[in-house]
Structures are given as C-alpha cells and as structure tokens.
Symmetry: C2
Subunit: 218 residues, 2 copies
Amino acid sequence: MAHSSPEHWDQVATVPEVVVTRLPQYVRVLKELAAQGVQVANSQQLGEHLQVTPAQIRKDLSYFGRFGKQGRGYHIGTLLEELQHILGLNEQWNVAVVGVGRLGKAILSYPGFTPDGFHIVAALDNNPELIGQEVEGVAVRPMEDLPGVVQQHNIQIAVVAVPSRFTQTVIDNLVECGVRAILNYAPISPQVPTGVNVRNIDPVLSLQSMTYFLANGG
Amino acid sequence: MAHSSPEHWDQVATVPEVVVTRLPQYVRVLKELAAQGVQVANSQQLGEHLQVTPAQIRKDLSYFGRFGKQGRGYHIGTLLEELQHILGLNEQWNVAVVGVGRLGKAILSYPGFTPDGFHIVAALDNNPELIGQEVEGVAVRPMEDLPGVVQQHNIQIAVVAVPSRFTQTVIDNLVECGVRAILNYAPISPQVPTGVNVRNIDPVLSLQSMTYFLANGG
C-alpha cells in the first residue's frame, strides 16, 4: 500500500504527528460541510467550524502542498478528497485485536470500525479458555500464532486491550511482527521505536474537558 | 460545586467547547515540563511541545485572563495550577456507568479514572440478570432507580455504554435527572440540550490518524 517516492518519504518525515492527528477531524467537518452543500470555504470559515485559528489551518494544510488559492478559499470537495487520500481513508485495513477479555470483546462487537474501512480479521489471547472460541465471528488464536496471523492477513493495525502490566510486552511483540500502527486502551504510554505509531484511547482527557463546565456552573 | 457569579456565567458562556477540550492536553504537557524542572516557557516553546501555533495558545489562554507577562513567558507551575483549578481537576467527581455489558464491565474495571478524581459509585442496567450483581464492588441497579441514584450520590457525570439504539433514550433520562456531563461510547452523536456536555470516545478518529503513516510508508 506504500507508493512512496524518496520525496514522499521526506514529506512524511517532516509532518508532525500532532498535525496528522488533527486531519481526521478536518475530514469530519469537511464531510459535514459538503453534506450541507457548501462548496467553498476560506481558512477563516473552516477555523470557525473547527475552532482553530485560520493561521493554524493554513499551517497544518501547508505540509501537504497548496490546497487553497490566495483569496479564493478551499474547494471543499477537492480538499476532502485530497485529505482522505493523504490519510489513506479510501483504503481497506485489516486489524487484529490482542486481548479478548471484557474490553476486547466489546471492541470486537463495536460497529463503528467497518464502515470506515477497518476490518477486524483476527483476535489473539493467551487465556486457554478463550483460545479456539469464536467472538463476533472471529476465532481467538493463541499469542504464539501472532507472526503467522499478521502475515496471513496482512495486518498493519493492532488494537491492544490487555491489562496495563502486559501492554508493553504485547506491543513489543506486535512491533517485532511488523505492525506499525497500534491503538492502546491501557492507561499507560507505551514505548515504541521510530516508525511505529501508537494512539491511546484516553477517556480521562474527555472527562477532564467536561468538569470545566461543571465546576464553573456553565 | 458551582460558585458562579453573573460575570462567571458570561465567561463560561463565551469559551468555545473546543478550546476547553484542548486544555486537559495543555495540563498534561505542563505536568511533564514541571516534572522535568522547567519553570518558565513562552508560547513559542509551549507550541513546540503541543504542536500548535503560539498564536493559538495565546488565544486559547486569553479566554481565561492574562497568564503570561509580555515577553516573559508563562510560569509553568502557576499556569498548571490555574488550569487545573479552571478545569475543576482539583475536585472529586462521582460518576455513574449506565450499561453493564462487556464494555460497561470493562469501564468499571478501568484503573485510570480514580487517580484523576473520577469515582465510579453507581452502575445501572435494565437486564434482570445483571441487576443486584456486584461488578468491581459496585452493585448494579435497575434503570428506574436512576433519579434516586443520581440524587443519593450527587452524580454529575455519567458514562454511557449501552448499544447505539438505546443511547439517545438513556441520555435523555440522564439529562432529565440533572446529569450534565456525559461520556458516550456508542458510535453515534447524541443530541443534548444547551448546558449539557457530551464527549464521544471515538477510536475511529485515532485509527484514521495512523493510516496516514501506513499509506505513505512513513
């Protein structure tokens, strides 16, 4: 899936990760605007929808080339398509879930992944009682099958739902098998080598952004 | 917990929600800087850590008064304390979990809430088999007990882990009982009246920010 030229590699290397984490939110807002029939928006208007400064938007988008024409704004449809292409959102991705406890089972039954191109095709655990069972149509495989499973299904993304004390070891194993994108549900920040990306699902950050309104009676 | 003066209400009303969602991340970075012994940082330096423009940081913080001295930067310790106070992070919050299926059970056993002041004190479900059971030391109560439970425990925050088709109804019930902060795990965007805040846990956005690196061989 990597059609990378040397220039492309350079480009990827220079885009800060935090900028990339904002782009899916841009895509969401652009989809909403497109659905409302909006055809063109300038960075001021996009900024109002995203609540970021126009300068921030221009800076974020500047990493990927010139989208807007000076003084003319961005064509929503084009920008949306380009961003989806840049983010690889028009591709299909095979995903493995590691850890089939309560959380892993909940993830396997989560209906939100497939419509966006993420297909959970494998589940792994080291619990003998779980191995061999089917959960949501996916057979649970033992952890030692990981290298074979990753290769067989061309898995590039893993969702890790194991207890905190096992998380780093599991992620080390995944990285060894060539997985380079990991979604971690444990409340720790795992270490990974350069070239591997981790995102942490962090409900505490979300809660902390609501207590403001409670504490201030808003 | 609301010590609101009329001016305070005005202030709360004018801070965009998206700005507030960024503040917990500022708090995280400030905590890291403080732990490293950094005492002062200007918006340029903070921006490098957060990967947002200095102008964005100054704008975000300007909603809450003047923190930095012109040309002198921000005092990390003071800014951290102020932001924690503003966000209500020095308070303790009682939380109810609604929906005690796989996901709800996983949430009840999640160790990351308590250290940050969020205490799960109640669990509710409408499944007769679950009602009366104890999960992680919390007794599962029937949904019709909701008004009493909310009042008894002074619950201001709810975590909703019910299937999508029940989510809106459950959230309507919570709002009726006076809950004004809701963390929703279903892949839908529920509607709430003004004055109530919802955050959606959205693993898809996280996955979408990693496919960029996979698609571009980075």
